[in-house]
Amino acid sequence: MQSKRKVLCREGLLGELSGATLLFDSTAFIDAFRYPVFMEFLAEIAESGCSLVTIPSVIYEFKRGAKNFDQVNSFNNFIEELNIGTINHVENMSQKKDNQIFTMLYNFEAFNGRKEKGPSYTDSLLCLILYMYRHVDIRLLTTNYRDVPLSLFDRTDILAFDTGREVRTTAIYKLSMKKLAKKLQTMQP
């Protein structure tokens, strides 16, 4: 018998997320717009009590292509209906000393895994947020796997769904306090 839910995930994930905060990358929005099955999954997560959040640069990335009031309002209403909160003042907070140290470490680790250009502006801010809000259960939903180095973050879950033409995957990441502590211990003042 075919399962009603078409997004495959770890058993118990929805229950875990009900008390957590899920940070949206641009790729999560792309998949939600394109694939109703993924949007349904996100709606279920939102209804479970999980806080869905994003940052202004993710929102800006989408709105920059809007050419009329209808498109602008459709996106605003989409965010409102899914109850997605915005973390503001990210850039200002990034200048706090410990946030600068984390970003420096993140840049080093993220560049380590790639030979060409480094991580995107938005992805590096999203990873910084996982550090800034490390005292709450906050996780990142993204398909930009290369921009989330496993030397600092744990890939806690991989979600898969059938679009009809292909099987898409997306992942959930969490900052690993153990990995970060270990890396910091190796840094010399």
Binding site: S18, G19, T21, S26, T27, I30, A32, F33, R34, P36, M39, E40, A43, A46, E47, S48, G49, C50, S51, V53, E61, F62, K63, R64, G65, A66, K67, F69, D70, Q71, V72, N73, S74, F75, N76, N77, F78, E80, E81, L82, N83, I84, G85, T86, I87, N88, T122, Y133, V136, I138
Partner: protein, 56 residues
Amino acid sequence: MDASGIIDSKMNELSKKIDTNIVFYDENKPKSRKKIDRRKLNNLAKKLRGSLVYAE
């Protein structure tokens, strides 16, 4: 009215056409369990699909 005045006045008038209700994240706020309107969400997604520039 000079150009600056026209801009301010026109922007003020057009701003009424933008639906914005930004909710800022507060980690201490109780989690919401609001029922999501699937039909509304699907209709919005259809409008947005293919109409925006995606940074893929």
